[in-house]
């Protein structure tokens, strides 16, 4: 059996990658994928703990997270498409119409 630490380290690396992606990248799609990365890093950690602790609650959480992530992607992608239609670009720095 793989020790729990490995899972956690993998999860942490994935999360850091995602977080850096969100902070550094300008492309909305990439940012989205980075967010997905972070969510799945969390999922990984939760499934791992669930297996170790012999509790289902972690796995149930993961289901929820996946469902919510799917919904979020649906909404987010729709927004990105709409923004692209009007701005011909998905660079997040250009989405500043409401900046005071």
């Amino acid at each position: 059996m793989v020790p729990i630490n490995y899972y956690i380290i993998l999860s942490a690396i994935l999360f850091t990658l995602g977080a850096l992606g969100v902070l550094v990248r300008r492309n909305a799609l990439i940012i989205f994928m980075s967010v997905e990365l972070m969510l799945n890093a969390a999922n990984l950690a939760m499934v791992a703990f669930s297996s170790v602790l012999k509790s289902f609650s972690g796995q149930i959480f993961v289901f929820f997270v996946i469902a919510v992530a799917a919904a979020e992607v649906a909404v987010g992608l729709a927004l990105i498409v709409e923004i692209f239609k009007s701005k011909r670009s998905i660079d997040v720095d250009q989405m500043n119409s409401m900046k005071g």
């Binding site: 977080a19 969100v22 902070l23 550094v24 997040v92 720095d93 500043n96 409401m98 900046k99 005071g100």
Partner: protein, 727 residues
């Protein structure tokens, strides 16, 4: 005081119909009159409805008089409804049928009906001369309303119900004087007629003020009632001072309504109304209401001889004063108007002296002959106007034919303006000015003879009605009141004189204008009622002949008045008055008849009498004095109060400047500029600028990029985790 079961009330249940029947006539003409007037027979229908309504009132009056006589003078009351009941104040719509009220009812409805009929003919022409045919109906509405109000006046059983009629007839008088409210007496656009109407109403209101005060005194001092009998009963035990006050305040009311000094001024102006109105309201009926009031209040006046004497003196002075003015007038109706004032003075003097039967007798005969004179004068005026129009439109008629002219009349307003412009070039012709008349006995023979009868009756020549009634008044005065006797005798002399002057000027000599030369006689519908009145003027004296066994009116009124002196004929007094009257007529012939007036000639009396005649001509300048002493000051005061006191001082200065201004000063200068701006504002502004500076610095953090916020979050998380791990 309710009527007992035993008394046979006969036709008393009809009493309210005295009022209702003219009102029904009014309503019919109000609702259906427009429809009537669209037909050729419209005017006849409107006139017939109105005359029938008035005639019905006359029939009822006869039935009521019969009832009174059948019950030997029993006072019958007929309660229609309750009116004002507050605490001790109990007023009802109760009709009183007794010999006095039925006498008045008969006069009002009888003369009234004749005048209604006459008016059908008169107004037919009048509305055409004045180019507003549609107004025919309105005239009869007002006339019926007047009859109704007059009936309330004479049949009311309390002072307050009398007052309803009293003011009601004043209203009708206003409406009818101002009947041609957009014109003056010569038919030109003007405020004159409406001013005359207003003057009549307001002067009457001054009198009504006296009436009201009398009523208040009566209520609080004479048994909390307005009902005649209750008041009289209480008066017997009341202090005389109160009665004097009541009777004298009532005299103010009488002076207003019956045109006595000092409130007579409205009556001459009231001649602005159409002539039937002058005859009905301003000669025969309404103006006698004051005489009726004093007679009705006989039991009050009898208690206070001093007040009686003042009433008599007022009447006698008025009689003489108005007679002098009548001598100097040129307008045919103005002469009659002042004559009416003078004759009303006779009546007031009579009732003031306690000769109530004589006063009422003169009231009745005067109603006959003065109505006759006024209506004849109307006939004269219309005759002259016909002549005038015949001349003015003669060529026009020939060109376009008769029908066309009538059509033009119907157009109303348009035609009116043409006529006004037409008149503007030349001098306006006055068909009522006696200086424009002369020689009318040839062109208007019927009217001439009627006028002669009226004149003889008014002048007091045996055996015409006026002789008997006037003689009774003079006789009474000669017995007890020498001063009044002298005043009245002189007035009687002048009466005969100005009537003689009028006859010679109008009917004799040569025509002084083309219109008079072409005058035309009036139609039957006008002359027949005049003939009836003429018969009454001749025979009216039979009502109360001063011989043993006669005195019919006196006995009749005795039912109500209790003490009526039936004096026998005194040949000395009668002789003197007849001789005076004849002398006056001869004098008039001497001055005006022997050498008839020429066109444009000044009055032959003007030179010998000098300033006296100027005074007479100008009505002794009473109108001007009132204008200067009362009207102008009132207008000035009200202007001053309204403009200076109320608006500029109170509204603009006190409220705007003082209150609002002070408040503004305090809030704007003292508080705002100093305390607020320099103190509180400075502090608040300081706080504000510090905050602004701080936020300007902090503002930079907010750059709007999600990732920079996320970075902050990340740092935050790292810090917190770091703390949790390292602690």
């Amino acid at each position: 005081m309710q009527l007992s079961e035993a008394v046979n009330t006969g036709f008393a249940f009809l009493a309210p119909w005295l009022v209702f029947s003219p009102l029904i006539g009014l309503l019919i003409n109000l609702l259906a009159g427009d429809w009537f007037m669209r037909h050729a027979w419209g005017e006849k229908a409107v006139g017939a409805v109105a005359s029938l309504a008035s005639g019905a009132a006359f029939v009822i009056s006869v039935l009521l008089a019969y009832t009174v006589s059948a019950s030997h003078g029993e006072v019958i009351r007929w309660k229609l409804a309750e009116w004002i009941h507050i605490g001790t104040l109990n007023l009802d719509w109760t009709f009183r049928v007794d010999s006095l009220s039925t006498t008045m009812m008969l006069v009002v409805s009888g003369v009234g009906t004749l005048i209604h009929i006459y008016a059908i003919g008169y107004m037919h022409e009048d509305v055409r001369f004045k180019n507003d045919v549609g107004r025919f109906r309105r005239f009869f509405l007002f006339l019926n309303l007047f009859i109704a109000m007059m009936m309330i006046l004479v049949s009311g059983d309390s002072y307050l119900m009398l007052f309803v009629g009293w003011e009601g007839v004043g209203l009708c008088s206003f409406l009818l004087i101002g009947f041609w409210y957009e014109l003056d007496t010569l038919g030109r656009p003007s405020w004159a007629n409406s001013n005359a109407a207003k003057k009549a109403f307001i002067t009457n209101r001054v009198g009504d003020f006296g009436f009201l005060i009398a009523a208040f005194l009566m209520f609080w001092h004479l048994g909390n009632s307005f009902q005649f009998d209750q008041v009289f009963e209480a008066a017997k035990t009341a202090p005389p001072g109160i009665i004097v006050a009541i009777t004298l305040f009532m005299l103010i009311g009488v002076a207003g309504k019956s045109a006595q000094i000092p409130l007579y001024v409205w009556l001459p102006d009231a001649m602005a109304g159409p002539t039937p109105v002058s005859a009905l309201i301003h000669a025969a009926t309404m103006v006698t209401a004051g005489v009726y009031l004093v007679t009705r209040s006989a039991e009050l006046y009898m208690l206070v001889p001093n007040a009686q004497y003042i009433v008599a003196l007022t009447g006698a002075i008025t009689a003489l004063f108005a007679a002098t003015i009548a001598v100097g007038q040129y307008d045919i109706k103005k002469v009659l108007a002042y004559s009416t004032i003078s004759q009303l003075g006779f009546m007031v003097a009579a009732v003031g002296m306690g000769a109530f039967a004589a006063g009422m007798f003169h009231l009745i005969t005067h109603a006959f002959f003065k109505a006759l004179l006024f209506l004849s004068a109307g006939s004269v005026i219309l005759g002259v106007e016909r002549g005038h129009h015949h001349l003015a439109h003669g060529q026009h008629k020939e060109k376009h034919g008769k029908g066309k002219v009538k059509h033009a009349f119907r157009k109303g307003g348009v035609k009116k303006e043409e006529r006004v412009q037409e008149d503007h070039g030349q001098e306006v012709f006055d068909p009522g000015d006696m200086r424009n008349m002369g020689g009318l006995r040839k062109t208007m023979p019927v009217t001439f003879w009627l006028y002669i009868i009226g004149t003889l009756a008014l002048a007091g020549i045996v055996p015409f009605a006026g002789f008997w009634s006037k003689d009774e008044i003079l006789l009474d005065a000669s017995l007890h009141f020498p001063v009044i006797y002298i005043l009245l005798s002189v007035a009687a002399f002048l009466t005969a004189f100005y009537m003689g002057r009028q006859i010679w000027m109008v009917f004799f000599g040569e025509a002084r204008s083309a219109a008079a030369a072409h005058a035309e006689e009036s139609p039957k519908v006008m002359t027949v009622p005049l003939m009836v009145l003429a018969v009454l003027s001749v025979l009216g004296g039979a009502l109360n002949l001063p011989f043993e066994g006669f005195h019919n009116l006196g006995h009749w009124l005795e039912y109500t008045l209790h003490e009526v002196e039936g004096l026998p004929l005194d040949y000395q007094v009668a002789g003197i008055s007849t001789v005076l009257a004849l002398l006056a007529l001869v004098a008039a012939w001497f001055i005006y008849g022997r050498n008839p007036l020429k066109t444009g000639q000044i009055d032959p009396l003007k030179r010998p009498l000098g300033f006296l005649f100027t005074g007479m001509e100008n009505k002794w300048f009473v109108d001007e004095i009132y204008q200067a002493l009362i009207l102008t000051p009132y207008e000035k005061i009200s202007q001053f109060l309204a403009d200076v006191i109320d608006w500029r001082f109170w509204h603009d200065w006190f409220h705007e400047k003082v209150i609002a201004g002070t408040y503004n000063w305090v809030s704007e200068i003292a508080l705002n500029r100093y305390a607020d701006q320099k103190g509180i504002d400075a502090f608040a502004n300081g706080l504000g600028s510090v905050t602004q500076w701080l936020s300007a610095a902090a503002r930079k953090v907010q750059n709007g990029f999600v990732r920079s916020y996320a970075l902050s979050v990340l740092f935050g998380v790292v810090l917190i985790l770091g703390y949790l791990i390292l602690k």
